[in-house]
Each structure stands twice: as C-alpha cells, then as structure tokens.
C-alpha cells in the first residue's frame, strides 16, 4: 500500500552526499549518496550487516561519518549532535524509559525542548489520542504489551514534530498478525501527518508494503533505489534480484543481439533463451537473466504464441498454499526452476501434479537481463 503520489516532484528533504563510515578497518557504509524527498515513506532494505543501521544512526546523529556530508532541509547536519537535530528515532528496542509513565515518556522530548507545561499537556494528549493510548497514559512501560510499547515509542518520537522520523525495524518485535495490522496503521499515520519517514528493515515484505521508495543496500553500498515496483520488476543487479522476492537466476552467454532482442545460450538449462534489451550487448559476453516464478506459465500442453521462451521438464516438488501453488520443475539438464501458479479454479485436484511432464513458458518481455 503506497501513499498517494501527486505528479508534481517533491522537494528534497535529506541529502546524503558521499557518506562513508569506517569502524577501524571495516567499512560499514561506503560512499553512499541518496536523496530522500519531503513527505515520503522511504525504506532502507538490506540484510544484517549491510550498513543500513549505521546509515540510520548517522542520520540520527549517533555516529559521525568518516567522510561525506548529511544535509537536512538544506542545513548541514554532519556536525550537529543528536539532541539538536530536527530528527527523531524510533528504536528497535523502543527504548522506553522504564521509570516513567506513558505520558511522561511522551512528554520527555517536549520538556527538554522547553515547551510550556500547558502546551506539553495538550500535545501529549493529542499524540496519545492519535495512537489510541489515552487510556494507558498513567501506566509504566513494563505493564504494556508489545504493540502498545511500539505505539508509545512512535508517539514519543512524533510528538516533537520532527522533520524526519527514523524507524529502526519498527515491526520486528511484533508478532505476525499484529505486524500486518501495524503496517497499515503506520502508513496511514505517515499519510495523515505528512512527516518524512525513513524505515530501516531487513524484511522485504515490510519495505514493499510500507514504502513509496526503497533503497536496497548491500555491503555498505546502495544497490538500487526505486519504487517497490521498480525494485521488484526491474532489479538493477543480481543482488537486488535475489534479495527481493523469489526469482530464477540463469547464467548465459550472448549468441546474438539485434533489434533490441538478445539471445543467450544457457548451458545449465541446455537451451537458448531470448530477452529484450534496449542497450546493445556484444555477442560472446557472459551475463545473467532472471525471471520471477509468477511470470512463468506451467502447462501440460505445448504453449503457443510467439515471443515466448519455452522449456520442458518434470514436476519435482510442489507446495500448495491454497491461493497459489509453488512448483519446482526439473529440466532435462538437471537444473530446477521455480514456478508459481494462482489457483483460480475451485478444485481439490490440481491440474498439474507431481511427476507430470510439463511445459514452462514465459514472455520474453518478462525476462530481466542483469548486468555484471
């Protein structure tokens, strides 16, 4: 669920310019440049150790970049301490003050800002109402459930009306049911307030559903920045393709390239596959193509239609999920491809079963040609 996008380009709020962070010899963040727009819900996605948390901590001011600058709303924040930045962070652990009540936790930031007491009361009440915690204002954090704690942490960070709200794995500590619900709440809240959110997460589903744009990070670098659709359907490289969603990665060698159409000899499959590419690519160069499981059609009859890649194989493994089925099909060469099929018809018996001889086919336009 992406927030509504207007056509006019949004102004840039956060400029990350060539930021690097080294811990001793370890490069945690490597010359990252990134623009985050005002009012967007931006996700930084990556596996643990990819540098996303370090980048977040640099935005909050807890780490100082080894080199590079960070600008927020045009002002250089690189040397500004965390307590003077217009930025608030929702910690993964929530970091609620255990000796303070919910109300005191939320009021803390305003007190430090020197807001008059009457205003503090008003703004805290308003914020507690927004996250539906009015009834728990007098409780200590130890008496709250995980979801309630999360909302207190959110309220405490938002009450200061930061220009930028950072969320470190905001849903990681919640159980699955609550997570889905909270995801929607979070996105709604962001839309309501218009505050710029930057979410750091290792969970691709979380990033895909929450964010209007995603930066995929790997080994301290940005692997790709784009909308969830761009990242999913047009992965920039092998890492992004493999990290976001399920995918079949196939190595091949270019045999022909003409008129926007590239043919590859794929030894692992024992077949020649075609793919569309706007950029010309020299014959003989080795490359990699990727195709998502849901793009592949599985059938017992030979498919017709042109501009399709067709392969033959045997159903080797099958997982039934109700709404869809996931097939693992072994080709004659021994290679295994994943295919998913929607179970559109209501039937207890699947049209394709274990050990069936099947044809796999997909539109050559659904194939991604990955460089490097």
């Amino acid at each position: 669920m992406n927030t509504v996008k207007s056509d006019e380009p949004k102004p840039v709020l956060v400029e990350i310019r060539e930021v690097s962070k080294k811990f001793g010899d370890v490069v945690a963040v490597d010359a990252v440049s990134l623009d985050i727009l005002k009012g967007e819900l931006f996700a930084i996605l990556g596996s643990s150790g990819c540098g996303k948390t370090t980048l977040l901590r640099m935005l909050a001011g807890f780490e100082h970049p080894t080199s590079g600058r960070i600008l927020i709303d045009g002002a250089d924040m690189t040397d500004v301490p965390p307590y003077e930045r217009p930025v608030n962070l929702m910690f993964q652990s929530y970091a609620l003050f255990p000796h303070m009540t919910v109300e005191q936790n939320v009021a803390y930031g305003l007190k430090k800002e020197g807001v008059p007491a009457a205003q503090i009361r008003e703004r805290v009440a308003e914020m507690l109402a927004l996250v539906k915690l009015e009834a728990l204002a007098g409780r200590k954090p130890e008496k709250l459930s995980g979801g309630e704690k999360q909302r207190v942490a959110l309220a405490r960070a938002l009450v200061k009306r930061p220009k930028l709200l950072l969320l470190d794995e905001p849903l990681a500590a919640l159980d699955r049911k609550l997570r889905e619900h909270t995801q929607f709440e979070l996105a709604n809240l962001q839309y309501q307030l218009g505050t710029t959110f930057v979410v750091v997460t290792h969970d691709q589903d979380e990033a895909m559903t929450l964010a209007s744009r995603i930066a995929v990070m790997s080994e301290g670098r940005i692997a790709q920045v784009g909308t969830p659709g761009q990242v999913y359907e047009f992965p920039a490289n092998r890492y992004v393709a493999g990290f976001v969603g399920n995918i079949n990665l196939i190595d091949g060698r270019v045999t022909r390239s003409s008129g926007g159409r590239v043919s590859l000899q794929c030894d692992a499959l024992g077949a020649e596959l075609s793919v569309l590419s706007e950029d010309p690519i020299g014959a003989g160069s080795s490359t990699c193509i990727a195709v998502r499981p849901e793009k592949i059609t599985i059938s017992r009859e030979a498919p017709n239609g042109k501009d399709r890649n067709v392969l033959k194989g045997t159903v080797w493994d099958l997982a039934y999920f109700g709404d869809q089925s996931l097939y693992r099909v072994r080709l004659q060469s021994g290679a295994v491809l994943q295919v998913s099929a929607q179970n559109l018809r209501r039937s207890a018996k699947l049209t394709v079963e274990w050990d069936d001889e099947v044809f796999l086919s997909w539109d050559i336009a659904s194939t991604v040609l990955l460089r490097s």
Partner: protein, 305 residues
C-alpha cells in the same frame, strides 16, 4: 510434568521445601541465638565472677526463684550523654564515609559497566582483589603509609615539597580513608550489578529527544540506578557504624566510634551487661535501614521479572 513421575515430583518438592528452610535455620543459629544471649546479658548486673554477670534465672535451694532482669544498663546509656554523642558520632562518620564511597564508587562502577565484557571482568577482579589479603593486614599497611615517618611523608620530604611531616594518622581523616578504602568494593559491586543491566539505547533515546549527555544521565541513568545506590550505601553504612578495627588502628584518641566503646566496655571495664546494652541499641538503630534495604531489594526483584 508427565503422569509417570508424580512421586519424583513431590519428592523433589519436599527437598526444595527443606532447602528453603535452610536460610531460616542459619538465621536462627547465627543471628537470633547470639542476639538472645546478648539480650540476656544486657539485662543482667555486672559481678566480679566467672562469667562476669548475674544469671537471668535465679535458682535457690528450694528451686526456681524467679527472673532477675534489670533495665539499669539501658537507663545508664540514656542518662549518660556520652553514649548518645558516640552513637551520633558513629552514625555521622559512617554516613560521611558512605557518601565518600558513593562519590568515588559510582563513577568507577559506571566506567566498568560500560567496558567490553572481557575488560569488565579484569576490572571487577581488580576491585575484589584486595579481599585476598586479610582485612587487618590491609588496615595495618595504612599505618606504614600514613605514619609521620611513613612512606608518604618520607617521600614528600625527600622531594622537598614539605619539610615537616603532615599528621595523617590517628585522626578522623585516617578513619575516613580507612572506611573508603575498606568498603569501596561493597559500594562498587551492587552499583555495577545495577548499571551493567541498563539498556544503552535509553541514553541514546534521551539524546534523540533533546537531552545533552549529562542531562540524559540525570534523567535516566541516575533514577534507574537508585536500587544500586541504596544497596551499596547500606552495605557500606551498616558495617561502618559498628566498625572497630579502623578507628582502633587509624583513629585518634578523639575519634568517637561505638565499636571502640564496645571494646572498652567489654575488655577494659569488663562490664559485659553495659557492653551488651550498647550493642543491642546499636542493632536497633541499624534494623531500620536493613528493613528498608530489604524492601528496596524486593521491589527491584519484582521489577526485574
């Protein structure tokens, strides 16, 4: 637990119940019994005999003749202003010593708690290392250091910083030094145990919400470490009030501490009943903070759950 092993379970349960009784047995044997003996002596009259006090239960030729108890010793303590002054002086010296331990021990415990685990263990070992040498020896060693012809004075004179030795021994300064030196580990360890459990994110959160480092410490770390502070202070204060060795070895003639009075009553005046009364009153003075300590501990355990 499976149905097959109910016997085992109740057996284990019975043993557990017995184990729980053990501390009570311990208290009975080593706390209550001696206390009752002291209490008994404190209501006796001194006599020149062996033992040097009258018996509680009087027996005559015709059998039991009644209980012989007197509160004269207590009346004496309260009438003679001397004891009141010494109690107050002991409490004051213990309180100041405790405060000094806290001021010195808190930063140390905080520093240790913030180190990497391996380094932490080395530093903790350094804190408890002095326990490997007899307490008495360590206090004696200070005499050698603080003496007018001791290591420190000789060194200062040798360096030409002073030409007359500074009187460092046999005064209150030496007693405070001895208390801080001897009891500092008892302050550091409970404080460390508390501070080590603090979530570092809390200080970051305070900074994120607009608190400078020092402010964050005052708002977050300090209130959360109150149980550690209370625990450390009581562990220092309670034994320091009744301390005998330190004032006896390092204190001057004018250093008034109840431990020395107790010693004098027992061994110099040989007035066991008065000495016992002194220690009963001391105990009653200390029961209040001990009970308070237990309540704080119970509350902390509750919170830790």
């Amino acid at each position: 637990m499976s149905d097959a092993a109910p016997d085992n379970g109740s057996h284990a349960h019975r043993w557990l119940r017995r184990a729980v009784l053990l501390p009570y047995f311990w208290l009975l044997l080593f706390f209550l019994a001696p206390f009752l003996i002291i209490l008994k002596i404190s209501v006796a009259d001194p006599v020149i005999a062996q033992p040097p006090f009258t018996a509680l239960l009087a027996w005559g030729a015709d059998g039991f003749r009644g209980i012989q108890a007197t509160f004269e010793n207590y009346v004496f303590l309260f009438q003679d202003g001397y004891y009141g002054i010494i109690y107050l002086s002991s409490l004051k010296m213990a309180a100041i010593g405790t405060l000094l331990c806290l001021l010195l021990g808190y930063p140390m415990a905080y520093y240790i708690a913030r180190q990497a685990p391996a380094r932490r263990n080395v530093l903790l070992l350094a804190v408890i290392l002095p326990f490997w040498i007899s307490f008495l020896l360590r206090v004696y060693a200070w005499i050698g250091l603080l003496n007018n012809r001791g290591v420190i004075n000789e060194m200062l004179i040798g360096l030409g910083i002073i030409d007359q030795p500074i009187q460092m021994l046999y005064n209150d300064f030496a007693v405070y030094l001895g208390i801080v030196y001897s009891y500092l580990p008892f302050m550091i360890l409970p404080l460390y145990a508390n501070l080590e459990r603090h979530d570092h994110d809390l200080l970051d959160a305070a900074a994120d919400l607009g608190a400078r480092r020092w402010r964050g410490f005052v708002d977050v770390t300090l209130p959360l470490s109150v149980p550690g502070i209370v625990g450390g202070c009581l562990l220092v204060f309670i034994p320091a009030v009744g301390e005998f060795t330190i004032p006896a070895l390092l204190g001057g003639a004018d250093t008034l501490m109840i431990g020395r009075v107790l010693w004098d009553e027992f061994f110099v005046s040989r007035d066991w009943p008065v000495a016992s009364a002194v220690s009963v009153v001391l105990l009653l003075l200390l029961v209040a903070p001990i009970l308070w300590f237990q309540r704080i501990q119970a509350r902390e355990q509750e919170a830790g759950r």
